[in-house]
Symmetry: C2
Subunit: 554 residues, 2 copies
């Protein structure tokens, strides 16, 4: 049995036909949904690539693993999916992006060489690397592509795309009058990328995946991690022209959101990407490209599914389709992700379990409150391992996959650290206070901001588009208090007792006495004599009589 | 400049003459208090040896370092005082006890050999070991002493104390009619230990300390960590006979405590050690021995102070006297530690800073709310290092030592995990819910118990002995809510972002743009042209014209 853990970057939960998008047909996503369960209330642990992914890969909340933003290294020794799966005999491979930054200082402190097997896994988030490419090879004055190797860029060069950084010059740029038309500029989003479609990022990674599937010895878990449909928003032909302004849904936004907004929301609504997406011409250029990128992902998913079917592996492969977070695309007056409205924090989560007990649920949806951290224990469960719930904070989805009922969490948590962003200074908080927490109980969504601000509150039953911040009024103090109680309980969660399992704690009971540590004996009759026998018996030498004095000597 | 960080085990804050004990004269503790500052509101992070010590040594709360009980290994890679001090050129040495358990699984996972320098420090809580002995060499059927080396036992054997475990047979046993009279039995607490006084644990460790001081090259921080006055309660002559029943203070307890007690308090009041200490004959035998052990500690402290003075090192040595927690000794119907009444959770904390700015405060007391985790940053500050406050959760005590005013914390936190104790089953909670949290704001002390219980609340202004649990009534909901707000804020603290300092975060600002990562450009005019120049320019090859199709082709 193998696991194909496919992640798309910045894919909204609702940009799939199985999730109801009216214009975007994604038959291959739908095909997996028809074989498995589509979770309709799945949330990322942090609406930002790096932090969210570290939660997927560790099965732990962002505040627990500590890598709370892009480029914050995952601390050395933090256990990953790879550690847990390898312990039960399953390999963990990376094909694509992780956005993981190694804890080079921590590795040096522990003397771990990056080129050793252990060091390499520490540096790659626990995965063995089939191919890693994080994309986003910027060409700024500080370099970035220069610092790292890009297998995709090497591939492009081997295919004759010349120049220093063909990722930027071809895969993510169009052409206009013989000049580069960079995908970094929204005005170029409607141009076809200047690349043969089969050489663009998504088909390239798919080919790497097919090569892996053909060559790998199982059991394996392969993390196939696409860089798309993440920006730059530009896609090769024919996808660039499949969708147009007539397919762009109206922005989900409301003037009420701009009236007395929460200061953090206000700051984000005023940032550069938000103001760009507030312009309708930007949306009409970008969203068709975004949809084209997803359509390309769907077609490439079809290649993988066809190959699994052809080779007879479909019946022995768990398939998961998900993303690290969504994309506002102008909804709520915002662009990018970062905050906690559903277009950003809610993620697609489709799980196909090939085993017989899952027959009961094929093609169904499940609205349980699911978190990204649930996948790691789900995979470990699938691999036949016991779940170390003193380390993994998520829960196996098996009950839902098998049509069982189970006691389940009553709220989900997501977090965001904006200390690295310009909004820290706009809001006027310290790095430590530039942190947000979301608590959602299935109906109400509370957002707490450190720094002494009021919270935000939305009632998704009566206001599913999350336009009306109820925390502005005084009528919801009970709801707010209840959600804050959830947040407090979560804050006190046991997240760092990672060196002692419940079973080990249970085994410790009574051990002190068995070791002869008994600080409660009046005369020894309190315990069986065998526990104290070594403390009795004759003494050869009386040191007291040699050296002792009594109180009268003082 | 050096640091002498002296810890006594289970020493109550109020069993010193400088702290007002009416019968116990401790002139050497008082001598340090007269040279320095005695902190009268200092608290341990967990009233249990191992967990408290891991907080001292990491500068982090128990929930942050995760070693929440004795024998829970400190996770590999968790940074310690030794890591921080060595980074600024100061050695960190251990002389005595740490109660640290190495994370052997984690070390194996990272390939760290216990006999390498890095591995040894990982296994010894960051210290280089001058001598380590944790004491408590039990002789039960499961062994314990057998598993480990005890330098103190080796010393005793070299001195002619025969038998397998002379720690148990001589240092911690008396003699009666030629038979061992074990110190594990309270009925023997009034006997002199069957050992020459100079060979007992406290003088032995003092001699090791003097040997270290004579030989060590500075700058150093030496953690001199005595096993006493921790049980077994037995002391060699002449200390065994210095105090008698007439010196035993009445137990600080009240019938009101047994009326409708909190279920967790109730369970602890019913445990074996509590019921033993509820018997007056036990107190009258044990407490004089406990006082004798402290008196011996004081005399041995005098040896160290005299030597520092004689050798001219007193003026260049910071001296700290503290303990890991207290001892109920029958107060509140309890024995041992574990809960949060002051006899257990409050600790002695005397700090002598030899430098000139501390002249203003010599011989004074300070009632600021101090936590055990404040020592690590205090030492690092003294050693001239910047304090990495993304790792260390305590704060340097320098302002208080130098007579400055400073904004300070408004509450202290202590925690206790009782999952390993029999009280877990008496209370009837899971391992995860067998956890307690104390919040004390200088007047009110709230104790929260996981598992759905009401809290406990004490008003130390009107009820300094903490007899009356105000949470039984409904009159303190505002106070309780306020303290719960503190606990919630603390629960959301940023404790695991240990790989990124504030300075590094500040340096990250603007870096994406400098790297050429700009997801907000409409046409490039938004940023200086040098940031986008590489994205412009002529293209040699037009792949679009080769492969492109437009929408009409579909």
């Amino acid at each position: 049995m193998n696991i194909l853990f496919i992640m798309y970057d910045q894919l909204r939960f609702d940009y799939l036909s199985c999730a109801g998008h009216p214009h975007l047909e994604t038959p291959n996503f739908d095909r997996v949904a028809a074989m498995g369960v589509r979770f309709t209330n799945a949330f990322c642990q942090s609406p930002i690539c790096g932090s969210s992914r570290m939660s997927f890969y560790t099965g732990r909340y962002a505040s627990s693993h500590g890598a709370q933003w892009n480029g914050f290294p995952l601390r050395v020794g933090e256990q990953t999916l790879g550690d847990h799966l390898r312990a039960v005999g399953m390999d963990a491979w990376l094909i694509g992006k992780t956005h993981m930054k190694a804890d080079a200082d921590g590795m040096a402190r522990l003397g771990l060489a990056p080129d050793s097997v252990i060091g390499a896994r520490q540096a790659e988030c626990g995965f063995d690397v089939w191919v890693r490419d994080d994309g986003l090879w910027g060409e700024g004055p500080d370099g970035f592509y220069d610092e790292k190797r890009s297998p995709y860029n090497e591939y492009l060069k081997s295919k004759g795309y010349d120049g220093h950084n063909p990722w930027a010059d071809f895969a993510n740029a169009g052409i206009e009058d013989g000049e580069k038309a960079s995908g970094w500029m929204f005005e170029n989003a409607d141009k076809p990328a200047n690349i043969r479609e089969e050489d663009s990022e998504t088909p390239w990674l798919t080919s790497e995946t097919l090569r892996f599937i053909a060559e790998a010895k199982g059991p394996w878990c392969a993390h196939v991690s696409y860089i798309k449909p993440h920006w730059p928003y530009i896609v090769p032909a024919p996808y660039h022209a499949m969708y147009g302004a007539n397919h762009v849904l109206a922005a989900s936004r409301h003037e009420a959101e701009r009236a007395d907004p929460h200061p953090v929301f206000d700051a984000f609504m005023s940032n550069k990407i938000a103001t760009a997406f507030q312009q309708e011409d930007v949306r009409q250029k970008v969203i068709p490209a975004y949809m084209g990128l997803i359509k390309q992902c769907d077609d490439q998913l079809g290649r993988i599914l066809d190959e699994l079917e052809r080779s007879g592996q479909l019946g022995q492969t768990m398939i998961v389709l998900t993303s690290d977070h969504g994309d506002y695309l102008g909804d709520h007056w915002l662009g990018e992700k970062d905050l906690f409205h559903n277009p950003s924090v809610k993620i697609p989560m489709i799980v196909y379990d090939p085993r017989e007990p899952a027959n009961a649920t094929r093609g169904t949806t499940c609205d349980a409150l699911v978190e990204a951290i649930d996948l790691a224990p789900t995979f470990l469960d699938f691999a036949g391992g016991d779940i170390p719930d003193h380390i993994l904070e998520g829960r196996s989805l098996h009950p839902w996959l098998h049509g069982e009922t189970t006691e389940w969490r009553s709220y989900v948590i997501s977090e965001y650290d904006y200390s690295v962003t310009p909004m820290r200074d706009v809001v006027g908080v310290t790095n430590r206070d530039a942190r947000l927490f979301m608590v959602f109980d299935g109906r109400y969504k509370l957002i707490h901001a450190e720094g002494g601000f009021r919270p935000m509150l939305f009632d998704l039953k009566n206001d599913p588009e999350e336009f009306h911040d109820l925390a502005k009024s005084d009528s919801y103090t009970d709801v707010i208090a209840r959600l804050y109680d959830h947040l407090s309980a979560w804050g006190r969660r046991m997240s760092q007792r990672v060196t002692r399992s419940d079973a080990e704690i249970n085994a410790m009971h009574g051990r002190s006495a068995r070791r002869g540590i008994m600080p409660f004996l009046k005369d020894g009759s309190e315990v069986p004599p065998e526990l104290t026998e070594k403390y009795r018996g004759p003494v050869a030498q009386d040191y007291v009589s040699k050296t002792g004095q009594d109180a009268d000597d003082q």
